[in-house]
């Protein structure tokens, strides 16, 4: 699971400390100024400079003076209800049928022998629901107003005391409502599908001569080993991401074993993340190494040196860790020589106080290159100012909730790679059902944004064109990060024009574009810059759907942070306001009978 550090920020950090509120305000002002300028130019061409300015100013005046304050909830509800009924009677609920057929087939094809079937099942239902709902929102929203205009049913609406704000809001609310109903049904079906699909039971297949060690039978393409305690109770080993309880009871002199339902495959772990810094081979703060991967997500530390990855935690509360500090890590190994390929690379973990005066003994571990868990006991051995001492975790190592965890690589010439989200403290667990619900709230927010865009485009474009425009926004939103990479010239070969020239002149991307004419080269770069700036600006105006997707949290069993969800809610609200205002503007200035 990939998490950028900015995704850990709390809502207030995101809004105030990281300047999102200021950025949002700047974006609103820029968009408003840009919108006013474009509209004024159009109005000026049609009506002349004075009259054009007057008409634009009047629309803005009407918005704030009358149309917004006098917007009626009753009329919005009437139009929303109409949109809802329209969708129902046009058999939108057939989407549910499509989904049911989809998950019925998925039941056959989803591989239960995968390492983590829960992840597979949850990812499947969330991704399928996400795409289906976004497409539903797209088709519902893009065609409705244009159909009303084409069929002229809009005549009977706008000749009633209905304001453009009410038409836009009514549509958005109505389609969101029908989308919510469909999403709720899909969510319920998905939950049942996941829970039932992953549920399985084992019997004890073999039991050792001591009557305490045993193996279960194979169910769902796996079996478990287990060891019972003296009281006849025990837990199996972890396989396919879960365990089972095993109990042995005497019935009529015979021992009967009972294996419980799976535990831990549907979880919502509450992680505490820290910020990550690196030190180089000499222990001096640096940026971590790049071992040649294109992705910069993980940075590496060199083995057999002072090179370290240091996580600084700020919210380590004793109440969250009553039984010890549970650490979850997913560290990657990069080998410069093969060596003993069966034996994993070795790493070391150290806990340190924030003032760096107290640290724990080194905890050696083998890098699993998948999710690994370590529990640090509350009382442990360590060093205070390099002198050995018995330590208490929350008394000596945690100061005001702050603490450091250091990872080093033991094997020289091997490397360990990590990102900030690759090591977290597990501060308890929340309900999977609730986390699943939050995942669907996240999908709902994306759906509302798509509906907002669809309705906005449909106020000035015909149905098919509005659909294409909404789809383009969606694609731009999903692949926005790539556009930024292009724009920041992180890829070789230049922009679109330069790429075409390179293809025609058969020049590779790694050599200079030498056309023998510097003016021509500069012109090509300038055109590319303009094109890429335009696309990048467009990209900034559409939501980053890639970031709004939270299905990984649910699939990897991590509690979706309330702060992140609240942030997404605010982003959706921002787009809702922006698209409503733009839609209002177009409806207000549009001749319905033209």
């Amino acid at each position: 699971m990939r998490l950028e550090p900015n995704q850990f920020w709390s809502l207030s950090e995101w809004l105030f400390r990281e300047g999102s509120l200021l950025y949002g305000a700047a974006l609103v002002i820029t968009m408003a100024a840009f919108g006013f300028f474009v509209c004024y130019v159009v109005a000026m061409v049609r009506q002349g400079p004075g009259e054009g300015f007057f008409s634009i100013a009047k629309v803005i005046y009407d918005l704030f003076r009358t149309d917004l304050p006098k917007t009626s909830l009753s009329r919005i509800w009437a139009i929303a209800k109409l949109a809802f009924l329209e969708a129902i009677r046009r058999k939108v609920l057939a989407v549910i049928g499509i989904f049911i057929v989809g998950i019925l087939f998925a039941g056959w094809f989803l591989d239960k022998s995968a390492d983590d079937p829960a992840k597979l099942y949850i990812s499947f239902v969330l991704t399928a629901t996400n795409y289906l709902i976004l497409l539903l929102g797209l088709f519902l929203s893009a065609f409705s107003i244009p159909a009303d205009i084409k069929n002229r049913t809009i005549y009977t609406i706008v000749t009633k005391p209905v304001r453009p704000t009410e038409i836009v809001l009514g549509r958005v609310v109505g389609f969101s409502l029908i989308g919510s109903v469909v999403l709720a049904v899909l969510g319920l079906l998905s939950y049942v599908f996941v829970v039932r699909g992953l549920n399985h039971s084992h019997e004890v297949a073999t039991i050792g001569s001591d009557g305490r060690n045993g193996v279960t039978d194979v169910a769902g393409a796996h079996s478990h080993n287990f060891r019972l305690n003296e009281d006849g109770k025990g837990v199996t080993d972890e396989s396919k991401g879960h365990q089972h309880t095993v109990t042995a009871t005497k019935v009529n002199g015979e021992t009967v074993f009972k294996v419980g339902p799976p535990i831990g495959n549907l979880s919502a772990r509450v992680p505490v993340y820290g910020s990550l810094t690196y030190t180089d081979r000499n222990g001096v703060v640096g940026e971590g190494l790049n071992v040649g991967y294109m992705s910069e997500y993980r940075k590496f530390i060199a083995g057999g040196s002072l090179s370290s990855a240091i996580w600084n935690f700020e919210n380590v509360n004793e109440s969250d860790f009553p039984d010890g500090l549970e650490i979850e890590m997913n560290i990657e190994a990069f080998r410069t020589y093969k060596g003993d390929i069966v034996t994993p690379v070795r790493g070391t973990l150290i806990l340190r106080s924030p003032d760096e005066t107290v640290e724990s003994e080194r905890v050696s571990f083998l890098v699993k290159e998948s999710l690994d868990r370590k529990v640090i006991p509350l009382k442990l051995s360590g060093f205070r100012l390099n002198k050995p001492e018995k330590l208490e975790l929350f008394k000596d190592l945690v100061v005001d909730g702050r603490m450091q965890i250091i990872i080093r690589c033991e094997d020289s010439q091997q490397y360990l790679g990590m990102a900030a989200a690759d090591l977290a403290l597990r501060a308890g667990e929340k309900s999977f059902a609730w986390n699943f619900f939050k995942g669907y709230v996240s999908i709902w927010l994306q759906m509302v944004i798509v509906i907002c865009f669809g309705v906005m485009y449909s106020t000035f474009l015909s149905g098919p064109v509005a659909m294409v425009a909404t789809l383009a926004s969606l694609v731009l939103g999903f692949f926005g990060a790539n556009i930024d990479t292009f724009f920041n010239s992180q890829y070789n070969g230049g922009g679109p024009v330069e790429a075409v020239v390179r293809i025609l002149t058969q020049k590779g991307t790694m050599i200079d574009l030498d056309l023998g004419n510097q003016t021509l080269e500069q012109t090509i770069r300038t055109i590319d810059y303009g094109l890429m700036s335009g696309v990048s600006t467009l990209k900034s105006a559409v939501p980053d759907f890639g970031r709004l997707g939270t299905s990984d949290f649910i699939a990897y069993g991590v509690d979706l942070f309330d702060g992140l969800l609240a942030r997404h809610l605010l982003i959706a609200l921002g787009y809702f306001i922006m698209t409503t205002i733009i839609g209002y503007f177009f409806l207000k200035t549009r001749e319905m009978a033209a």
């Binding site: 149309d67 009753s74 209800k81 009924l85 005549y155 009633k160 209905v162 009978a593």
Partner: protein, 326 residues
Amino acid sequence: MTLEVPLTDANPAALKETSNAVLSNNSDSSTAPASSSDVVIETRGLGKIYRDFWGRKKVHALKSLDIEVRKGEIFGLLGPNGSGKSTTIKLVLGLLFPTSGRAFVFGKEAAEVTKNERIGYLPEESYLYKFLNAEETLDFYGRLFDMPASVRRERTEQLIQMVGLQRARRRQLKEYSKGMTRRIGLAQALINEPDLLVLDEPTTGLDPIGSREMKDLILRLRDQGKTILMCSHQLADVEDVCDRIAILHQGELKELGRVDSLLKVQDVTEVHATGLSDAAKDEIRAVIAKHGGTLLQLDNPTTTMEDLFLDIVRESEARPGRRSGS
């Protein structure tokens, strides 16, 4: 029996010219000037040019129209296709924006939303949501006027009764005949008990009975004090119901005035009488000749096709299975 006598000139061409002159003289000025509070619709130099995507002029649909529609009258817009009738109505309703001039409704700009609170509009083809039934349709439009639920229910019941759709109230509009669609269209136009009713081709698609009922209803609404602006191709309909008309051609106002004044032929006298013998008719001819008049026609009048049809239908309903007149 109808008798028509020109008092001065028997030449039909001259007669037409004369009557045209009378029509022109009988224009709007023939009626008493209205106070500003009586004016429901006012257009001042209203013009509309339709342009293409690039802003090039396509059609000059309306040229500097000046009319006033007064409270409590039925005002008809008459003209051939493309004369600017529908454009005028759309400009008055704010569905189009004028290229020049201004339109006011109840003293407010036509684009002003609040004016719609007092307007009912029946479009040319009752553009309604086909997936709704009659009750849902009226409830929906009632909600758009912020009407409380109890009032909506009451009005819906009244209007469904009024337009005779009791038995089809729960059927979706897509199952309605054209006549039924017109009737529910009219009902939605009346949901808010409007002071001004704008009717675009109100009798289009209606059979003669429906057409007559529509005209009777229009007259009843006028008698209740409502103002009605309508446009129609059906000259007979306009003649039957309108108090004043404006005749448009190629976007220009050609005539404006009271229907009775405009249609009155000043120099022809019409007498309707019953029970006259042939001798009496001869005597009348003699009297006309004696006074220097020219007898144009002395004949038994014919009824209109509409009246004939309605009489037959009424008789058929009263005595089913019998052929009319037998």
